[in-house]
Symmetry: C2
Subunit: 208 residues, 2 copies
């Protein structure tokens, strides 16, 4: 209250709702985990998904792994901020989690696919949308092959999808190229964006 | 050219025209000098002024010190980006200097008073406007007294002006509180703003 009534210091501490988006394979998960390490009070949303856990993935940490029935129930109860079918699996953002984090004054970061990010913009115009990309298509192919979780025909589909998704960059606020072996630079850039956004004269106030 | 035609990497290197503004006494000069040290390819504009040099000020480095006749000639020849009467002295931004820096691809930073910043916004909507302020009025008074270059009645006038200027923050893009003994934090925040702005999807392209 004291800060708000001091005309010399109009800084606000309005928490941000930050979406990291971009094509499959650009490194969203890795970047978000690195952001979490760097900014300790950043709340990273755990997405709910109907897909099966990959090796090393932990329920409640990497995702909430739910059945299709459970997911249907979450939709029914309006418990999802946004949800989408991604490669035949459902993924969604639990609304309560985001609301709680924002209410406690912490910035919230979430991974959303490109289509979902555009949907969020419509519902919450003040969301902060960051588009993560790679240097070029060759690099994207390399990454998709290296993570060894998709069959060649799936990779082909992901590349084709990526080409379409790249056309939607204009709907985003910022674009960050996640260069090979330059994770630290990516993290620094996203940290700079967050720091800058907290000094905007017109804050992005998201109300859920 | 290669980067522009690569749809996966739409980052632009459009240079920014950055204005540091704010009331007299908030530390604009100190902050700008510190920015120059941190970002070596930042071009800091040398303002032309009709006021007398203060102790330690060097012509062509701190200001271009010109006569009232010379200043009138610069106005006449449309050589100034913006100019204003500040406490009975003329101050102006040499246009050629800014154009050259932008053409060479470097970000340009300049110190402009609050009224002047608003004028620049009208002429160049894509200018990046940063409002520098202090924690509170007591702090501003302390700074004005400590620099020992104004008489008490001048300080009173500067405080009264500051109160009016604070009301214009809404015309700026960002606001940064330059806290006492926290110059490094101020510099980090402004650096973050610059870094973030270079990743905006919609670049600020200034054409002089």
């Amino acid at each position: 209250m004291t800060e708000e009534t001091n005309p010399y210091n109009p800084n606000h501490s309005e928490p941000l709702m930050i979406v990291i988006s971009g094509p499959s394979g650009v490194g969203k998960d890795t970047v978000i985990q690195a952001m979490k390490k760097r900014i300790t009070d950043l709340h990273v949303v755990v997405t709910a998904t109907t897909r099966k856990p990959r090796e090393n993935e932990v329920d409640g940490v990497d995702y909430f792994f739910v059945s299709q029935d459970q997911f249907a129930e979450m939709i029914e109860q309006d418990e999802l901020l946004e949800y989408a079918v991604v490669y035949n699996d459902f993924k969604g953002i639990p609304k309560a989690q985001v609301r709680l984090a924002l209410e406690s004054g912490n910035d919230v970061m979430m991974r959303v696919d490109v289509q979902g990010a555009a949907t969020l913009r419509e519902i919450y115009p003040e969301v902060l949308l960051i588009f993560l990309t790679v240097q070029d298509e060759k690099e994207l192919e390399n990454r998709l092959f290296q993570r060894k979780k998709d069959k060649p025909e799936e990779i082909k589909l992901r590349i084709a999808t990526a080409r379409q998704e790249m056309k939607r960059i204009k709907e985003f606020d910022y674009v960050v190229v996640n260069r090979e072996d330059q994770l630290d630079e990516t993290v620094k850039t996203i940290s700079a964006i967050i720091r800058a956004e907290h000094h905007r004269v017109q804050p992005r106030k998201v109300t859920l």
